[in-house]
């Protein structure tokens, strides 16, 4: 096995160690990781054992609340023209049912499961950013509860969970109901993204040594893909909520057809999030199924690699299916065909997983315990939902079924079979890990059968109700349509489902005993690390992983782990800490110091929630104060990070020494920053899509961009910012006497240049007479500039932060991480600013073509440069830069670039022969040809070393 980081795998052979552990080591570990002792410490706790349980608990609370709403709806629909709920109340309730189930239950529930389980499964002491997950949890809880309470004041949103404008625009929803949705959800998304960052870095960087990707538990795979999907999909809903809120508050017409907006833009943005969302919910649940089914069948998962591939494929394909929610909007045939094909394709990986589960059950012998029943029941229900999914992917059938009760049936089969049943299986299976007593098996069987029957009695008839013409989202229906009986049946089934959940709650109250003296433990005989004896510090010592099913394959593991015979048997520095490992092979890289409980993130969460909620009720001054307090709390929280280390390296057991500090791509902070920037970049990219989309609708309303001087000025300032962002950390690393001050000043200047660039952009557009309320162009350009301004604002705070660190003597080459991350952020912001500037000023103007002609060749050259750099650094991350695969990739890419250069040359040459239409043309073509030639030579020049490397 080649090493990824230079770590010698031979060292693993030292474990389990044989010498006796020192006296008091365990005591120290327990003290360092001790739980709350005083009442308020239950709130400031950040350990995943607490936050994870709170998180799952809160998600289940919202499940129950939204379930009660469902029962209210079913009561209303039991009879035609029933007067149980007034129309407006019903409309609010169905909107809240969908919204709460999707945003406050489903996503948080699976994320919570990850927070609770992943550290234990991966053999980490905690997730890499415990305060961040605590922040995400508190923001979600406070915001979610306040959002839900809007129902009691009749202020809940009433536009349906997908909030289509113009029904939700100011004209047709003048109340603040829709704002509750937009701001409430908008910020719960932030909490979801925070959790996703945590999970990605956690899975990639904090695994037990030796747990290479082929030994990564399937649930962790699912959570990794889930989190990556959140990073790509959620920016879309963040952007759409931002745009709609801007339209409502400031009258910027993104979705107003009369002024060049388009309601369909919302649908594209919403479903680009909304469909992956379904798989975002499904994948972690599927990961739980793939974990639980082998255990109840007492065998290994059949087709483990295929299941991993299937989950990856689901992740990719799910981003190509969003428009199947829009088959009835009058799309071009080509799009319809494409999305129909993709929607069918996405069911293939689901089929792979289903058959892998069946094969696993056949390979072993099923134990019909409660987790097993829920897993098999979920499988059956999910298959039925998948089949109706194939039906509605058939476009002609969808034209009939769309927005009817057939869809209500379909989506509940998919979500309940694909997520709720697996979640209950997971709760029954993993609860003994946190509770002193397991849940009752006898009750569990009753609950399962009631729930299974209740589900089918509720939703099976709805397929027919839909084919009989009943549209979804109706608060009542007329008698004599033949829908009465089916609706009564559905209502009866819903109450059976409700009874099952009630029984589960009662059983939870009877048996759930959190953090007793002893947990019930591994009653189902699971194979994962989470079943080793553990405490709040997770495992006593972190084992070397040699298989996918370590507890099954290494009978002595529990004893050796508990005796401290593996990595990190104590807390060598008297701090909370965990081993950070490499992403592919999980080789130990360094020891991360983890934070202790504090209250700043809790206050930060409360004030963040306060900012959004108070903004909703339009108390602007109070809202701004709350926002400033939130920023203060977060800065305060960050202030204590990245402090000097007493020791440069420590022994983490068996005489293996690792450093205590890292910066750059191997550090956990770098990964988190890069992922955050991807989120920001996605939002900006999608806003760019909105810009081009609205241009295609009403180009007649668009005005010419300001003259070129503004563009050149802006690009110049951004270039300065980029240089400073690169120069700051570089200066610090030189480690000269004045490095600290130079670095801090460079970062500050970089931030200032960003502010100046934004100001230039804004003033020149104002000067050109662009009015954000007048057209789709005004609205989207101002939206893009606002998004950039948000980043510039954060960058400015960071610039000041850098100077403050220098003032307090914290700018030293020994801790470059903070400066490096600030530099990364500023550099990204400069790049994003350049994207905004170039897009809005060059597209769709006539200059666009000239510019492209002049710079096309050089752009390809630049792309080649960047691409090869990226490929070789990926190779570096994998420490296999000399491997033929990476070289091959670089060569293929170089070939593509050569072809592109050739194409540019050919196009220009062809144009040079025919052109005499524009006065400028000979000039631009001349410049372009020169550039393309230079580019061609450049690409050849850079390809040569790659060839020679072989």
């Amino acid at each position: 096995m080649s090493s990824e980081t230079g770590f010698d795998p031979e060292l693993y052979k030292r474990f389990p160690t044989q010498e006796k552990r020192p006296e008091g080591e365990l005591k120290q570990l327990e003290d360092v990781w001790c739980g709350p002792r005083r009442p308020w410490e239950w709130i400031t706790a950040i350990n995943n054992n607490f936050i994870g349980v709170y998180y799952v608990g809160a998600a289940m609370l919202f499940f129950v609340l939204a379930g009660v709403l469902a029962l209210l709806m079913r009561t209303q629909l039991a009879l035609p023209l029933n007067g149980f709920l007034p129309q407006e109340t019903y409309n609010q309730i169905f909107t809240m049912h969908g919204t709460v189930m999707m945003f406050l239950f489903a996503v948080p529930a699976v994320e919570a499961l990850g927070v609770l389980l992943l550290p234990q499964m991966l053999g980490a002491r905690d997730l890499p950013f415990p305060r961040l997950s605590a922040y995400a949890f508190w923001a979600y809880l406070v915001g979610g509860l306040a959002f839900f309470c809007s129902l009691f004041f009749g202020l809940a949103p009433n536009g349906g969970w997908f909030m289509y404008p113009p029904l939700t625009s100011m004209t047709y929803s003048p109340g603040i109901n829709a704002d509750f949705w937009l701001l409430g959800i908008g910020f719960i998304e932030i909490s979801a993204i925070a959790g996703a960052i945590e999970i990605i870095v956690g899975v990639l960087k904090t695994r037990a040594p030796g747990m290479s990707l082929d030994k990564l538990p399937i649930f962790a795979w699912a959570m990794l893909i889930f989190a990556c999907m959140i990073i790509i999909a959620f920016p879309s809903v963040i952007l759409s909520t931002l745009l709609l809120e801007l339209e409502r508050a400031l009258d910027w017409p993104f979705f107003d057809a009369a002024r060049g907006g388009d309601p369909v833009l919302w649908q594209h943005l919403f479903w680009f999030f909304g469909h992956p969302e379904v798989y975002i919910i499904f994948l972690p649940a599927a990961g739980a199924m793939s974990t639980i089914i082998p255990v109840v069948a007492r065998t290994r998962l059949v087709g483990h690699r295929m299941v991993v591939m299937a989950m990856l494929a689901t992740g990719f394909i799910s981003f190509g299916v969003w428009a199947h929610h829009m088959f009835t909007i009058g799309m071009p045939r080509l799009s319809i065909n494409y999305f129909s094909a993709a929607s069918m394709a996405v069911s293939v990986p689901a089929g792979v997983q289903v058959f892998a589960w069946i094969a696993t059950l056949a390979a072993g012998r099923m134990r019909f315990n409660t987790p097993g029943l829920f897993a098999v029941g979920g499988l059956v229900i999910f298959v039925m939902g998948g089949l109706t999914g194939v039906m509605v992917a058939m476009v002609p059938f969808d034209w009939q079924a769309h927005d009817s009760y057939f869809i209500v049936a379909h989506l509940h089969y998919v979500l309940i079979g694909g997520m709720v049943f697996p979640l209950f299986a997971a709760i029954y299976y993993w609860l003994p890990m946190s509770s002193a007593r397991p849940l009752s098996e006898r009750w569990g069987r009753w609950i399962f059968w009631l729930m299974f029957a209740g589900h089918n009695i509720t939703f099976l008839p709805m397929h027919l109700t839909g084919l009989m013409g009943m549209p979804r989202r109706v608060y009542t229906y007329l008698p004599g349509r033949g829908w009465d009986l089916l609706n009564v049946i559905s209502t009866v089934g819903a109450f059976m489902f409700g009874l099952a959940v009630l029984l589960w709650i009662v059983d939870m109250m009877r048996n759930f005993r959190l953090f007793g003296a002893r947990e019930a433990g591994n009653i189902y005989d699971g194979p994962g690390l989470e079943w080793l004896p553990n405490g709040l510090y997770s495992l006593r010592s972190i084992p070397v992983i040699k298989s996918l099913y370590p507890v099954w394959d290494q009978p002595d593991l529990a004893r050796d782990v508990a005796a401290g015979r593996y990595f990190l048997p104590g807390a060598p520095r008297g701090e909370r800490e965990t081993i950070v490992t490499s992403p592919l092979n999980a080789e130990p890289q360094y020891l991360q110091r983890m934070p202790r409980p504090s209250s700043w993130h809790v206050w930060g969460a409360i004030f963040t929630a306060g900012f959004f909620l108070i903004l909703t009720v339009q108390a602007y001054a109070a809202s701004v104060i709350s926002g400033l307090l939130a920023i203060y709390c977060i800065v305060k929280w960050c202030w204590n990070m990245d402090r000097p280390m007493a020791q440069a390296s420590v022994d983490i057991g068996g005489g293996v020494r690792v450093p205590t500090y890292r910066s750059g791509p191997s550090s956990h902070g770098w990964w988190a920053m890069v992922i955050t920037l991807i989120v920001g970049g996605m939002v900006c990219l999608l806003a760019g899509f909105a810009y081009v989309f609205l241009w295609s609708r009403r180009p007649d309303l668009w005005i010419a961009p300001p003259d070129m001087s503004g563009l050149i000025q802006g690009v110049g300032l951004l270039a300065v910012a980029g240089l400073c962002a690169w120069g700051g950390p570089a200066a610090l690393k030189l480690d000269r006497p004045r490095s600290g001050v130079i670095a801090a000043v460079l970062l500050f200047v970089g931030a200032a240049a960003l502010v100046a660039a934004s100001a230039t952009d804004f003033t020149t557009w104002m000067g050109a007479g662009l009015d954000p309320q007048a057209s789709g162009q005004g609205a989207t350009v101002f939206a893009l500039m606002s998004w950039q301004a948000l980043f510039v604002g954060i960058g400015a705070i960071m610039g000041v932060f850098a100077v403050a660190r220098w003032l307090f003597g914290l700018a030293s080459a020994a801790q470059p991480a903070t400066f490096e991350l600030i530099g990364l952020f500023l550099a990204f912001t400069a790049g994003q600013g350049a994207f905004v500037l170039l897009l809005t000023r060059l597209f769709p103007g006539a200059e666009m073509r000239s510019w492209l002609m002049m710079t096309g060749g050089l752009l390809v050259w630049a792309a080649h440069f960047l691409g090869v750099y990226l490929i070789s650094s990926l190779g570096d991350v994998a420490a296999t830069a000399d491997a033929p695969a990476w070289r091959g990739a670089a060569l293929v890419f170089s070939g593509a670039c050569l072809v592109a250069e050739g194409a540019v040359l050919w196009l220009l040459a062809r144009r040079a022969r025919v052109t005499d239409d524009e006065g400028l043309a000979p000039f631009t073509i001349g410049v372009g040809l020169t550039g393309a030639l230079a580019g061609l030579i450049g690409v050849v020049w850079q390809t040569a070393p790659i060839l020679m490397a072989g």
Binding site: Q87, L167, T328, R333, V352, L387, P396, H402, G469, W483
Partner: protein
Amino acid sequence: MTTETAPGLSGWPPPVLDPAGPFAGPIQVVAWVLFVMAAVVLAIVLLALGVALFGPRKWKRRVGGERLVWIGGLAFPVVVLSGLLIYGLATGARVAAEPKPGEMRVRVTGEMWWWRVAYLDADGREVVQDANEVHIPTGQTVVFELESADVIHSFWVPRLGGKVDMIPGRRNFLRLQADAPGTYGGQCAEYCGGPHALMGLVVVAHDPRAYAAWRARQAQAATAVVSAQAPLALIDQGRAVFAASGCGACHTIRGTEANGLAGPDLTHVGSRQTLGAGILPNNQGTMAGWISDSQGIKPGNRMPSYPVLTGQDLRAVAAYLESLK
């Protein structure tokens, strides 16, 4: 509210599976193909699951390997789905072809919470206005131009074809055809706020001759038809009440001073089958009920209730409107 039911969607047989024209027929076939496919696949999965859980050891060994995943999870779905996809796309192309020149055109505009209907001539000009029901000749393809005046609605008459959304700023097309005379119920299928649930319509198909007669009558100005239920004196009183109550601010009755545009055109309201956009049968009793308590019958709709009218006035105005055949 009355327990009488307006003509409209009828649940049995399920309209999606009971097509009445060439644009719904192929979809019914698709639906049955899909049901059979789903039943067969479900049976296969349940069989495999049954074997996996309860089967004899020899059978289980056959099922319990990666081969099942390759065959059942990958190869089988790819084959089935490829076939379905081609079939689906071909059917889609057939039932949703572009409108052809020369086809009859009707513009239906979705409004909160009713349908404005306009019959267009060959040049696309509106020649006849109507509301909440569309009359078409049988055996002839009719192009529906679908627009919206406010929010997104969706036009769905399941026995005649699939649904198409009505989106502000866009014009969508839907081609439908009825093979036999009759009344076909429809419903708004996209949630459009408030009383979306109560936004129905009917499409009435006549044989071509009867259709021509209907259209000729519809093009004329309002004429009150005197009958036993609507004697002349009552009609005259109703006309006066209608004018005095300001109904003409929102409604048009061609040939009178009433020329409002906000609400449905009432020139031939007495000839319609339903009231309140497909929710009440149309007669003097329901008309009087609708006028006095439209907010009770269809909460949130744009027509205010007129509880101030006396019983006699109500009867008169209902008789007048019902006489507009």
